[in-house]
Amino acid sequence: MLIRIALLLLFAILALSEAEAQTIRLQFRDTPVSEALQSYTEESGVDVVYSPLLVAGLRTSCRYRGTSERDALICIMSGHPFRVDAISRRQAVLIPLVDNEPSDPGDPTGILSGFVVDGASGEALHGAHVILPGVGSGAVTNEAGFFAFPGLGSRPVSVVVTYLGYSRLDTTVTASSSFRRFALDPATFLVSGVVVEEEAERRADLTITPGLISVSSRELQQLPGTFGNTDVLESLKWLPGVQRTGEATGGLLVRGSGPDQNLYLIDGAPIYHPWHAFSLISTFQTDTFKDVSLYRGAFPAEFGGRLSAVLDAELRDGSRDEPSATIEVSGLNASFLMESPISDRSSFMLSGRRSYIDRLIGRTHPVEDASGRRDTLRTGYYFYDWSAKFSFRPDSRSSVSVSWYAGQDVLDLRLPFDLSLDFNSWLRPADLFFEVDQSWGNRILSTRYQRLLTSRLFLSTVLFHSEYRARENTFIRPSQTSAVASDYSVDLEDTGLRVVLDWYPSLAHQVRVGAETVRHRFGSDLDALVDYTPTLSEPLVQSSQTTTTEASVFIQDIWTPGPTVRVFPGVRASVFGKGGYVRIAPRLSVQWAIDPTWLIIRGAASSHVQYLQRIRDRNAFLYDLVSSRWVPVGSGADPARSSQFSLGAESHVLPRTILRVNGFVRAGRGTLLPEDEFQSKDGLLGPGIEVATLLGQYDSGEERSRGIELGMETRSDRWTLIGSFTRMRSENRIIESHPQPWRPSRFDTPRAFTVVVAREGNRWELGTSIDWRSGYPVSVPSARYQLEDPVSGETTWYYHRPELNNGRLPAYFRMDIRAAYRFRMAQAQWSTGLTIYNLINHRNVVSQSWDPSRPEARPDNRLGLPLLPMLDVVIDL
């Protein structure tokens, strides 16, 4: 039934999308560009301004059918180093994307170096692929968009530059010049009706780091988010081997890891709790980032400190071209983004986001009862983000940027205890009430300085400070003679410096060497008091402060022994002050293009170390509810360590389609597992917040996972289809006292299937997504038994669960759809969209409980979210 509905909806989308008008028809096959442009002018009536010298010798193959003059022109120029700008309604101009005049004198050794930038905004593109097909070499740009190919001599070389979400650039340059600036046109995926007939795209890219998924902001915005929001972490879950812990909430799970085994970086600074709204949406707001790199498993040696994955996100530099602003209102929040050049050498970006539900329902509610008694109830919840970046280029060899991020959630409640979904029942003075005043958030300040020291040496330094702070104040009045009060706080501060040097000694080697030092400061305070009666109280006052330093050095080489093989050896050595741990973590990745179109093989082996672990008090309700409590090793726990091996293949054998298959095996040791899995928060006060006390609730454990991931990515002129299927097992066990049997880990997901289909028309944007996976493990009882109380003789029935996680929740299925309509109004580009979460209202089972005193043995299911429609509006000024 579900599949039938999905198919019907899909066909409706198809039918709707095809109903658009078609006016311009172009078809060229290996035609000189000058001739094609002439035909274009005749067909469309638009004059094209360009230099005949620059297009001399260029040929084009493309087919266009549609109504947009601009898109038709882009079709002709696709793959050529030009950007299309409209001067007026009837006139367009072609602007060269390649700076053919080197800004510095040429290098006599024949080095080709330069920067790859966004042709529209001028922003550097990190992770762009620069390929020299004739030489059989290629490179990936660094954080500054820089690349270098030494030893090319003085002959002209053809260059291909690609970057996801941007048009491919083919050009020929003289290798004896340095400092090229390649600008990529970001329009390709948004152009409608274009079919670029070229086979060169059907080649695998050897420059990709194994395990890396690099996604541009432009591409992420095409993927569905949560409730109409574009959200980086939510979008990443559509990729193979990536999922979230909860239905719409929770951390990111990568290849069977735990959610605390991922490193999240914003402009080089770590962020420890990248979530808002109880993990409903992330702090990574898609359009504030220019690119996002997710390393699964075998991440390069420059990254460390986590076992599983690294998410490295770069904030936008700010447009160097012209000011722009975007305003967006979704079902959960409103946001803005503005960016502008300040001078020829500087630019800025500023964005903000805030939820507004507190504005709709009000934060304070003065109430009065019939007797004239007054009270003020509170229902405040909001979250906000601020992101800002200032970029400055003192000269053509260096750049400085300062990035700042601040985000926080604030929850402020004072409500009667007997609240329900009947809102009217709340609005009265309450004798028995609870107050919750909680806030949690991150602040980051990061300064990056990059300089091209010589044409072979590139220096990059990052100085950062990252803070995570959480406060939980609770006051409960359950009766007139008793009260519960708690003031709990968690602080974590990182201050660090990272220095990285990229060295390009030859065409065969690119070496990255660096060092990093981070000072961690952990703090936590608790001041709780339970008044059982006016004369009987139980206080709990504790404080925990720790400071330690983590230092690392690393070296990573990209070795290209031949045109079809690339090897990535690296090693990272680190020392952790608390406990004096020294660990060496080697990494090795290999890529082999058996045939660039048919098959490329990627393999990796890597070792990782994690010195910080996130734990939680498993007893107390009064504190540690929303905070992330990271603790350092050395207080009864050793560093966690993991090794991973992966082997994958990629094929471009189908047009516009990338097929991927990856297998992996992963093993870890030293991760913390709950000593008593069945213990959950059920009391007011627990044993406290001391690190040693918290660690006492956990045992050292082992984990292992293995799986196979199948991925398919198809992109055409209007369509995007991303599908993935993952077959995986993830297990763990406690090994502290004596090894226990392996058991499925908490989020073990043997099968997961996701598919996203999006269609981008001239005015309509339509999409649907399907998320299906195995249910999470649960501990299912196999029998019941009765025990007697030793004093009273009263009997109690219990369920017997012989094994942990021996059963599963029903499989999870959800289908979302989204439709958005674009139009111009009041000199702005508008887009209004409707997202329907859980279209078929399939209430997934998210947890189960069992009551052994009931005669029939069956679980009580807790159901997930129902169908939820969400509207959003985006205004591009």
């Binding site: 205890f417 008593d676 099968r751």
Partner: protein, 300 residues
Amino acid sequence: MRQTPYRTILTVLTAVWVLTLTSCDAVVPAHEEDIVIEAWLDTGQELPAVRITSTNALGSPLSASPLESPARVELDVAGSRIAYLPASGDPLRYLPQPGTTVRPEAGDRFELRVEHEGRESTALGRMPSMIRLTDISVLAASEPTPVVLLDSLNLGLDSLALDVNATTGFMYPVQVSVSWEDNGEDDWIEARLKPSSEFSSSLIDFFLLPSQVFPESSAEPGAGGVRTWQGVYALPVAAADTPMPEHSLNVILIRGDDRFAQFATSRNTPERREPISNVNGGLGFVGGISVDSLRVNVSR
């Protein structure tokens, strides 16, 4: 030939359908009958009966199941080996062989062995020193107070479950102070205040302290080598003007080791878990404890 998106999409959706229908991860664990052993050896007291049952399959009626065939039961304590025999008239219990006079003393170690159909289950423990209540004082409120009726805090964002499921009522909070002789050892105490059963309500107890399991050394020391624990229980009443009903209160102190503490703190949430067992090869608990209790009448 150019691949149309329609064909690709249909291929993917077909794959979804196949995977959805062909995948089944649900597991129903098979019931394997386990033996459940319970015995509470009390310091200085006669040896207790041993209660031996078997687990019930999930579909079985809720009644304790005796073993299908008799088990062989032996207890080693105080240097003696005592055989247990099935009790006549009660298929769930085994009694020490007639004539047994052994009484376990403080510090004695014990081991209970049960052999049934070729499988042996054992439990080990140590006898704590005897506990003796020395003083109880009761302080009740003079009038009822409004109270929230709530057994736990259970909010779920995933389910939009915002109902706390709480109501309000009235109660008399009764504060009780209990003192006992300190043995100076590293034992655990379970203290319980058990009013007449008609007044018990877990809905009120959540924010009070009707029982607690704690290290003996954490209790407040007093003059004369005693330690004192204070608890509060609720006496629910119908209305704000209802006088406090006269009732009986059973004050119970149990002394045991850390394994007993683990058992005692894990047995009170049967809807979530089973108690931590100390029986190797079976379920249940065989504990060495010392119990003292006193029933008092409480009136206005």
